[in-house]
């Protein structure tokens, strides 16, 4: 577990060890701030080149940025609202459905990373 400070991370694959800094909350915040900065830069980029577009609406500065943000936020909020009506327990269709079943163990090859 990540909470387990004594976990032996030396046994992780090389690339996994290189990426462990993602476990640190502060580093995740840094990534998020970098994303904010990148978004701001991309928005401003619209003022510094000539757009070759077909539609009037595309010429609006930051059209794609605003459209992407607003529509995605709307998508998630609508989908979340759909859950109120559509969500059922995992075994709703059981036993004629795989959702509540375990995957057959003999077709898997479960192994721990240090095995």
């Amino acid at each position: 577990m990540s909470q387990d400070k004594h976990e032996d991370t030396d046994a992780f694959p090389w690339l996994g060890r290189r990426l462990l800094w993602l476990d640190n909350r502060r580093n995740v915040n840094r990534i998020v701030y970098a994303l904010y900065g990148l978004c701001a830069a991309l928005f401003l980029a619209d003022f510094f080149y000539h757009k070759h577009v077909y539609l009037g609406v595309e010429e609006l500065p930051g059209f794609y940025a605003v459209y992407g943000f607003v529509m995605c936020a709307m998508l998630v909020i609508c989908a979340k609202a759909m859950r109120v009506i559509l969500m059922r327990r995992e075994d709703y269709y059981a036993p004629r459905d795989v959702e509540a079943e375990e995957y057959p163990e003999d077709q898997l090859d479960r192994a721990e990373h240090d095995a």
Binding site: C39, A79, E102, R110
Partner: protein, 564 residues
């Protein structure tokens, strides 16, 4: 003369000898067959190469032109990659089913007439269900049955349409058709079922997550893209397809956001990607059809890659559910990287394959003045990044740490993912070889400043929306659940109504029966008296009379069905 032999036959012959071979030879054969088929298909000339007379029909097994060739080639590549991914599988049922399935799909793409198309169409249906049943659980058995009924149904509708088409035109040639007559509508409906049109789509999300780890990878490539090919061949430029396709891109993304099973999320996003191709077919211009073919090619690869990476997680942890996963990047970093490559490709990031294929379709929609459709496709592009591009890698490999520390995927799976990822990037960086394979000449430059900047804006602001919603806690968490979709009508509502009707009929039948049985028995006795074995009328009836009457009945049925 390899061109004289239908390519599908190669797969079927291999499937026939496969069961008697030892395991390592079986795995090698599974890799060799698609490579050989691919080399043949790459080199043979265009034309109608294998006509076969069959019961008075001229069947065409090898129609090679630029449209069929690109689909047949990507099917060979997908079969190779899927079989490499399944190198560890020793289950002969899956190996044979995979060969017959991919062979049938290639056969269907190369079919020059509707009867040949029908034969291979049903071949894909019957062979592929074994990839679901191979899971060998009760749920998989029932899911497979539902899948089979719908797939066979599509084939039966195709056959009915083909027969009516013959009555109309006097031939079975599979060329561009005009919607209008019952024949063409039936054929259209049959293609639509396999292409997962809205309300006909549920078999896809139902069945693909129920297949085996490797079966889903193979399933994802063929059936639906065969249907896209059939639509492109038969119904290019049919306007209704534009709106059907736009609806297809739209509604699955809402389900994908709240779905917990990551393989079902991918099935929803597969449905959404098909929508782009269907819009391309509907627009029907050279640019749009190029877009459909290019997108099908790119899509098969990145979708397989995504199913491979999630399948590897399932293979190592026993689950593919977002609510159970997280933090796997620590011990499965390579699988994570390949998943991200697939995610970037489906999201159409510059330098990845989706960027150079999807834009052909969007560009065609603007050029033909379908502005609303364009806006829908743009929304769907942002949406697909949201649920496939971010959600899949995020909930599997990052998010909250599940504490699971599985071993990295086995080498053959990593190799299959690496090759697929290579193609995703290579096509994105260097689209010319793919463009050269397309049905028409390409006059399109994907890498313009405007295109790159606007696409990056769209994607990064979608990512921003995800981040903001995640950090504010608005984003819906992954929950163990199922969501009702249209299949509820035939999995719950339909059976419930039938049970109710049966109960009503049973109760009223019991009452009626007690009243009527007195009469019925009386009538029966009277009939028995006159026509029974000992009866007077039966004395002059030879047994052959019954056979004659059956023959007459069949004859009447035939005449009626022929005339109608």
């Amino acid at each position: 003369m390899p061109e004289m032999m239908p390519t599908a036959l190669l797969f079927f012959l291999a499937a026939a000898i496969l069961p008697v071979l030892p395991q390592y030879l079986r795995a090698l054969l599974l890799l060799a067959v698609p490579v050989l088929a691919g080399i043949i298909l790459w080199n043979i000339p265009e034309g109608m190469l294998a006509q076969v007379g069959f019961m008075g029909l001229e069947l065409e097994f090898m129609r090679i032109d630029s449209l069929s060739r690109i689909f047949a080639l990507i099917f060979c590549l997908a079969a190779f990659l899927g079989n490499l991914y399944a190198w560890h599988v020793r289950d002969r049922v899956q190996q044979v089913a995979g060969l017959i399935y991919s062979g049938s799909a290639i056969g269907a793409v190369l079919a020059g007439d509707l009867i040949t198309l029908f034969l291979f169409w049903e071949g894909t249906a019957i062979a592929s269900v074994f990839l679901i049943w191979a899971r060998r659980t009760e749920g998989a058995y029932h899911t497979g049955l539902r899948y089979l009924i719908i797939q066979i149904g599509s084939g039966v509708i195709l056959l009915a349409g083909a027969v009516l088409y013959h009555a109309e035109t006097g031939n079975f040639v599979f060329e561009r058709m005009q919607l209008g007559s019952p024949a063409t509508w039936l054929i259209f409906l049959s293609f639509g079922i396999k292409c997962a049109f809205p309300l006909l789509h549920n078999w896809l999300q139902d069945a693909y997550p129920a297949a085996t780890v490797t079966g889903t990878v193979i399933l994802s490539a063929f059936t639906t893209k065969l249907a896209v090919y059939a639509l492109a061949r038969g119904f290019a430029g049919t306007e209704i397809l534009i709106y059907i396709g736009a609806a297809m891109t739209l509604f699955p993304i809402f389900y994908a956001v709240i779905e917990n099973d990551l393989r079902r999320v991918l099935a929803y996003s597969l449905n959404n990607q098909l929508g782009f191709m269907v819009v391309g077919v509907g627009i029907g211009t050279e640019l749009a059809l190029n877009g459909t073919a290019a997108h099908a090619f790119a899509h098969i690869l990145y979708k397989a890659l995504l199913f491979m990476s999630v399948g590897a997680v399932l293979f190592r942890t026993g689950t593919a559910k977002g609510s159970e996963l997280g933090g796997l990047y620590k011990t499965m970093p390579l699988t994570m990287v390949f998943c991200v490559v697939g995610a970037a490709s489906i999201s159409a990031f510059p330098l990845f394959s989706g960027f150079i294929s999807k834009s052909l379709i969007l560009s065609a929609s603007v050029k033909e003045h379908y502005y609303i459709v364009w806006a829908v496709l743009l929304f769907a592009s942002a949406g697909v990044f949201h649920h496939s591009g971010i959600k899949i890698p995020y909930f599997a490999f990052f998010a909250h740490d599940s504490g699971k520390r599985p071993k990295e995927a086995p080498p053959h799976m990593l190799l299959a993912m690496a090759i697929t990822a290579f193609f995703c990037v290579y096509i994105g960086v260097n689209p010319e070889p793919l463009y050269a394979l397309l049905p028409y000449e390409v006059k399109y430059e994907p890498y313009t400043t405007t295109h790159v900047v606007t696409q990056l804006q769209l994607l990064f602001f979608s990512a921003l929306a995800f981040t903001v919603l995640m950090r504010t806690g608005i984003y819906p968490p992954e929950l163990k659940s199922v969501n009702l979709d249209f299949d509820w009508t035939y999995r719950k509502a339909g059976p419930a109504i039938l049970r109710y009707l049966r109960a009503v009929a049973g109760a009223s039948g019991a009452y009626l029966g007690s009243v009527l049985s007195g009469w019925a028995i009386g009538i029966f006795h009277r009939f028995q008296h006159s026509t029974g074995p000992e009866g007077r009328l039966a004395q002059s009836w030879p047994t052959g009379a019954m056979v004659l009457w059956i023959a007459i009945l069949l004859g009447v049925t035939l005449v009626v069905s022929f005339l109608s």
